[in-house]
Symmetry: C2
Subunit: 129 residues, 2 copies
């Protein structure tokens, strides 16, 4: 059984050391720091990471609108930054946050964006009953 609190002694990464994709982006998994619930996945370039760190609020690059957007700017559902981790390949971020305001991460008004189930899995589960 792995220790869940093992301390790592690794050198901190510079944001320019991250492996951005062909569009200069890395996916950022947003996790509620209080209970580890995954709230959403967005995309960041180096500038969005810089803005996030500077403001202490999560800023994404919107791939559809091609602009920076501070999450919660219009809805009040800010993500207060707690910590950022990169994975072993340095091509994905894990951003731990405290949801602010109404605390609804999803534009549908839900707490998390991950509310859809998959039909195939439901069939499998049904088959196991």
């Amino acid at each position: 059984m792995a220790s869940f609190n093992e301390k790592e002694t690794v050198q901190p990464l510079q944001t320019e050391e991250l492996k951005y994709d062909q569009n200069g982006l890395v996916p950022a998994v947003i996790q509620d720091d209080r209970n580890n619930v995954v709230l959403m996945v967005g995309y960041m370039d180096q500038e969005a990471i810089r803005r996030t760190v500077k403001m202490g609020k999560v800023c994404f690059w919107s791939r559809s609108r091609r602009e920076y957007w501070v999450k919660g700017e219009t809805s009040g559902n800010y993500f207060e930054l707690k910590s950022i981790y990169a994975d072993c390949d340095a091509d994905t971020l894990l951003v731990k946050v405290i949801p602010q305001g109404p605390g609804k991460a999803c534009h549908t008004g839900r707490y998390t964006c991950f509310f859809n189930t998959l039909a195939d899995l439901e069939k499998r589960e049904g088959a196991n009953d």
Copy 2:
């Protein structure tokens, strides 16, 4: 304060309804079902999802090797499938698992792939002391 256990009544999605990227892939956030720790992010196409559901073990599409790989196939660090959710846009998956075998998700031998900190954030935290 949002309820963390709210029940949603949404129609389950078919895997063909997911919004795959130009390479036919969706990112899949892998989360330990026991404690909600995020272990890694991989990529799946429709066939990888099908194999994952059929086997009950997580199967990714490797973008670098261009082949399917059952996580843990060589290391024994399988991910036993518990549940799969899609986000509101249906372009990202959240896959809840129970790590098997040695329980080290990362090829570096760590429990999670997200162990790297960012230097910029450390500077900010230092500045706040």
